[in-house]
Symmetry: D2
Subunit: 366 residues, 4 copies
C-alpha cells in the first residue's frame, strides 16, 4: 500500500488533513461480535483532545467521532468499520504565512519536495491531528484485547525536557495534564512548562507504554517480529525519534549475566527483555519507551528559506503545543494496541488458539 | 505474509535454520539491468563471516553464496533472484544439551511456546546465522543505490560494553575486528574483550549507520514513514533493543530552538533530524543508531527451567560470540540499504523521477 | 488485509452497508497533481445510478459523492483521497422478512455462517450498492490513465438472458438503458425485459470491457499477471461467475496456428490474446468478457430454510433489478481501470518509464 | 510484492528460470506440526512430470525436490519451507534460434519490452516449467486441508481441442495420460493427439477442478472473495484464458428461478453457485472450470518480427507439448489448494474456529 494503512490482518487505513473537511479511518479485519459504540470510542478520543489545559494547543475541537459502518445493533459484524471525525475549528489565517516557506524541523520542506504540492493549512496531512484517528481505532483493539485476554495497555510520561518524572502509581496518570504517574511533581512541571512557553520555545518528552497479560507466542520472526512491528508503530507517530524495548540502550553496557532474564518455576526473575525474545512475546510485561522531539513550530525567530531558496526568518505563532509529547500517551497506547491485535490475529491464523502441551509458566512475577 | 518477507516492492524472503541443509533468500522486484555476480555478493558476506578474529565465534563456515536465478549474462533480468548458502560446519553435539531447556535471554523459550516444536540445533531459525542472507540481499540494494543515486551506506561501532568508541575516520573501520572508526583504541578494545571472555560473560554494543546522498522525498506518510520502516528494519535484527534516528533520545531534553535544523540557501545548518522530517527524507545524511544486547549464550551458570517447568542450572558452552554486536555492522548497513531501496521504488511508483519545479536545495552541508 | 482493500500501490479500501449511514472508500497512492473534483466523479457515478429506467431498481438514491481529503485547490496531493456517499433511501421494512431466512442464491446464508451476525437490511455489506464506491474510485484511475497514456476504457453488454447483442458502434452505448452497442435492438430488449419482469423472474448478462492504448510491459509475472489481476478484479464484482481474456473459452478448440497472434512490422495481425501474453500487456487492446448471474432476489416462490434449519418458502419482493448485469458495465470499467492503474505504478516502480532500446512496434493495428 | 509471491498468510514465493541452475520456492506461514517429507511432495510432482507419454514434451527431467528448511524430524516447524528443484536437462541449443525473434502467442515479446533483457533459453522465467514449484507447494496445502477438514481436491480434463471428454468416474483419471475421467475415450484421444502432432500444430484444453468438504464461511468480501482469489490463482497459470465458477457463462442465459440453488433441511438442492455465494464458501462442492490456450511454440511457419522490428518467419522446433493442457490438471489442483489454505488461515484469524450457534446445515447433498 501507499503508506496509509497499518497492519496486515487488523488494518487501519487513515485519511484526512488538518484543515480539510474531515479526518477518519477504515478499520478492517475486526472479529465479529465485539460490542462497541461511539460513546466508548469518544471517551478514548477525549484523552488526547486539545484545549484540556494551558500546556496544550488552545485549538477547540470537539473531535466527535461517527461510526459509518461495520457495527450492527451495537456489535461488530466483521465488515469494515469506518470512523469519521469532521474538522470544525479551522483558522486557516493562522497558517497563511507558511504557504511559501519551510519551518525548521517541520515536514513542510519534505512534503513540498516529495509531492510538488501540499495542503499547507495547519500542516495538512503532516499535522499531529491525524493521530486522533489512531486513538479511535486503537480503542477498538484495546477493548478486544481486554475482553479476549485480559490485556491492559497503559502509558505515562517519564521525562519532559530535562525533568525526569518518577513512577509512583498508575492511579495518578489520569488526574494530571501531563500523564505523570506521580502527582507530587505536577506543580513543578506546571511551573517548568510555563517557563518554556514564556521563552517562546518548546521541549521534548519521553514516554513509557506497558502491556500486561500478553500471552506467550505472539510475533512473527524473522522480520515481522513483535518488537520490530512495535518499533515501526511507535516511530510512525509524529515527532518520535527513538524507541526502546525493555532495557533498550542500557543493554549496551550490561553484561549477559545481568541482562538475560532468569527463569524460575514461578516465572521470570526480571524483565530486561521488555517481554520479547527472538521477536516473540514471552508473557512478561511488554515495556516500550519512546523519545519525542520538541515542537518545531515555535515563536522564536529562526533561519530558513522559501520555495525560491531565498533566506528568510521564520517565527511561527498560532496555537501550537509547547510539548507535543504531552498529548502523545494515548497515541502510543493506541499504536501498541493496534500492533498487538494484529499479531494476535496473525498468531491465531498460523498456530490457532491451541495451548502448548507443557505446564504453562506464569509470564511474570506477580 | 507470515513474517519472513521484508519490503513491499523490493522484497527479501528469507529461509533456513542454523543447522539445516541451507539458508537463503529470494529477492524480488530488483530492476533489470543491474550488474551483479557471486564474487561481489561474497565480498559483502565475508565482512560478517565468523572466525575472522578471536573475538567472534570460531565456527568455521565459508558461507559461499550461489545465485540460482534472476541473473542472465551478468545482469539482473527483473525476475526473482534466489540466493543459496549451504550450511557446512554443523556441530550439533554442541547444542544437544539445550534440547529440553531454555537459555535465559534466548528465543528457545518463545519459539517452543509459539510453535510447540522447534529445531533446537544452534538456535534453529532464531540463530543470528540467518542474518547472512540479509547481508547478501543488502549487497544488491547497496549496488543499485550507489549506481542510481551515488548513495553511500556505511556503519561503525560507537560503543562496546561500557567503552565508548570515538569517531576518527571511516578509513579505519575495515582495518580492525571491531568496525571501530579509530584504530588508536583497538588495543584497548582487544584487552577489554579478552577480559570479558575470560569472565565467561558477554557485553552489548552500540552501532551507528549513515546513508549519504539520499534524495529528498523518500518515505510514505503516515505509517510507512522512512524512519518507521528503518526502525522496523533495525529492530528485526537479532539482539537489537533500541533504535534512534538523528538526535534520538537526546531530543527529549533539547529545546525546539536547538533541535529544529535551520535551513540556509546553502543547505541545512545541522542534522538533529537524522535526515528525516515527517517520515520523508530531507537530503541530509540519514543517521541511525542501534543498541545491541549482550549475547545470551554464556558459560556463566544461570537459573532456568526445562520443558517440564522444573528448575535447572544452565551454562552454555560452544562457539558463541562474546559480543554479537561485533559482526552486526554489515547487517545494519544491509537493512538500511534494503529499506532505502524499497522506498526508492515506492517513491518512483507514485511520484516518478520528476524533479520538483523549484530550485533544488543542497540537502546537506558539503 | 482483511479483504476490503484492492490493489498494491493504487489502493481502494471500501466500506459501508446498504442501509447503514454511508458507503465510501479511501483511495491511497494516487500520484500528486491530478485534477479531480466531485462533479467529475459524480458524472461516472450517475452512469450506474438506480432508477434510471423501468428495467432497474426503483430505489431512488442520489448517490452524492463528497471528497473528504487528498485534494487541495482542485488537485490531488498524493495523500489518501476519502470518498463518502451517504445512504438516504433506506426502506428497511422491505427487508425485515429476510432477517431469519436465507434467499436462494444469495449471500445471506454465507455471511450468517461466516460471521454469526449480519446486517440483513438490504443485504448489508453483500449488497451491490457497495459497487458505487468502486465506480467513484475507478473514475480517478480512468482520468489518470487517459491523461498519462491516452488509455480509453469502455464496455458494453453483449448478451442479456438468451439474447445476444451485436456490436454496432460505441456511440450507441450511452444512449440506451442496456449499455447496448446497437440501438436497433433496444426495442426488442425492452420487450424482453418486460416479459422477464412480468414472469417474476430475473436473467443474467454478459459484458465486454476493452482498454485501448495500454503500453507494452504492464503486468508482474508469475502470479500477479495482468490477466490474473483482471480476473480477480472482475470476479470480485457481485454476481460475476466467469471471466475471459481475449478468445477465452474459444481458445480450447482453436489450433495454435490460429490462436497465436502473428506479428508484422505494422503490429499484431489479430488479437486472440486479448492484449496479454505471459501475464504482460502486449500493446494490443485488452479485451475482457464477464458472465453475470441472474438476480437472486425474485418474487417467484422458492424452497429455502430459516436460521433454525427449518424448511420455508421464500419470495422476495421489494425494489430489485431484474438483471443486475444492466448496471454492471460502469463497474466492470472501473475495476479494469483500477487494475491497470495499479500495474502502471508497479511497472514504473521496477522498470521506470524508460523506453526500451529497440524500435518500438505499434502494439495494435490502427 | 513484485508479483512472485502468492497468498497473504500461506505464501509461496517462486523463483527460477527454465534453463538456469534451479527453480524453487519458499512456503511461509505453514502451521507447525504437519508431517511432510520429500517423498510425499515428489509423488505430486511426478504427476506433471515431462516425458510420461508421447503426447507431452520429451524433455527428460527428474524434477527431484529437496526440502532446505522448515521441517524438523519430519514435521513442519512453522518457519519457512524452502523447496529446491535443480535443472538438469537443459539443451540450450534448441532455443538459440529464438534469442532475437518473438514467437507468435508467446511471452518472448512482452518480457523483452517490459524488462529490456530476458533469459530466452527455454522461455526463461515465462516457461511452464515454473509451475512445478506450484505443484510442490500445493502438495503441502493439500495435505493440511485433508488432515484438518477432510477436504479432497481433484481435477480432470473435460475437453481437448474440439473433443469433449465426458465424466464417468474419478478412478479413471490417474490411469490415462490425459487426466480423462473416462478411459473409454482414451484411444480416440490418442489418435486425435497424434494427428494434431503430425499436423505440426497444437490445441487447447478445458479442465474442471473440484474441492469437496470445504467448510461454510471461507472467503473475504468484498475484494478478496474466495471466487475472486480462485480466478486470480487459475489465471496465473500459463496459457489459461478463462475461468468459470459453478455455472459460469451458462449463468447468462439462466433464469434466477433456475440458477439460485434452493436450500432444504438436508442441504442444497443443486450447485449452480459452484460452492460460493457473496464470495464466501457455502459448503457445497467448489467447482472451477478453466480454458487453456493451444501451445504457442509450434513447427508450423508463422509471420513474426525480430528485435529490430523486421519481418521474419518463425517455426519452433524442439520438445514442446502439443497441448499444454494435458499436464495442467495437477497445477490447477495445486492452485486451488493454495487458495483454499490461505483462506482457511484468514478465516481462522478473524473468526476463529468457533462454530456458529445455529444447527449446522449440511453444505451439500451427500
Amino acid at each position: 500500500m501507499s503508506g496509509n494503512t497499518f497492519g496486515l490482518l487488523f488494518t487501519v487505513t487513515s485519511f484526512g488533513e488538518s484543515h480539510g473537511p474531515a479526518i477518519g479511518c477504515v478499520v478492517d479485519g475486526c472479529p465479529p461480535g465485539l460490542s462497541i459504540d461511539e460513546a466508548y470510542i469518544q471517551a478514548e478520543l477525549d484523552r488526547r483532545k486539545p484545549g484540556t489545559s494551558r500546556h496544550v494547543t488552545q485549538r477547540r475541537e470537539p473531535d466527535t467521532v461517527e461510526i459509518l459502518s461495520g457495527v450492527f445493533e451495537g456489535k461488530t459484524t466483521g465488515t469494515p468499520i469506518a470512523l469519521l471525525i469532521r474538522n470544525t475549528d479551522q483558522r486557516s489565517k493562522d497558517y497563511g504565512n507558511i504557504a511559501d516557506t519551510f519551518r525548521p524541523g517541520h515536514a513542510d520542506y519534505t512534503y513540498w519536495h516529495k509531492y510538488g504540492i501540499r495542503d499547507y493549512r495547519g500542516g495538512g496531512r503532516s499535522s499531529a491531528r491525524e493521530t486522533a484517528v489512531r486513538v479511535a481505532a486503537g480503542a477498538i483493539a484495546k477493548k478486544w484485547l481486554a475482553e479476549q485476554y485480559g490485556i491492559v495497555i497503559r502509558g505515562h510520561m517519564t521525562q519532559i525536557g530535562e525533568k525526569p518524572i518518577p513512577f509512583a502509581r498508575w492511579e495518578d496518570v489520569p488526574t494530571n495534564p501531563f500523564f505523570a504517574a506521580d502527582n507530587s511533581v505536577v506543580d513543578e512541571l506546571e511551573a517548568y512548562m510555563d517557563s518554556v512557553r514564556k521563552s517562546l520555545d518548546s521541549v521534548g518528552a519521553r514516554l513509557r507504554v506497558v502491556a500486561e497479560n500478553v500471552p506467550v507466542g505472539w510475533g512473527e520472526p524473522v522480520f515481522d517480529r513483535l518488537d520490530a512491528d512495535i518499533a515501526y508503530a511507535m516511530m510512525s507517530i509524529n515527532a518520535v525519534k527513538g524507541v526502546e524495548i525493555g532495557a533498550g540502550f542500557e543493554s549496551v553496557a550490561q553484561r549477559g549475566s545481568v541482562h538475560g532474564d532468569e527463569l524460575t518455576p514461578e516465572g521470570f526473575a526480571s524483565n530486561h527483555a521488555g517481554g520479547i525474545l527472538g521477536g516473540i512475546s514471552t508473557g512478561q510485561d511488554i515495556e516500550v519507551s519512546i523519545a519525542i522531539k520538541p515542537t518545531s513550530s515555535i515563536a522564536t525567530p529562526r533561519r530558513s528559506i522559501d520555495k525560491a531558496g531565498q533566506a528568510v526568518t521564520m517565527e511561527t505563532h498560532g496555537r501550537h503545543d509547547p510539548c507535543v509529547g504531552i498529548r502523545a500517551t494515548p497515541i502510543a497506547e493506541a499504536m501498541l494496541a493496534l500492533t498487538l491485535m494484529d499479531h494476535a490475529l496473525r498468531h491465531r491464523a498460523q498456530c490457532g488458539d491451541v495451548v502448548v502441551s507443557t505446564p504453562r509458566i506464569p509470564g511474570r512475577i506477580g
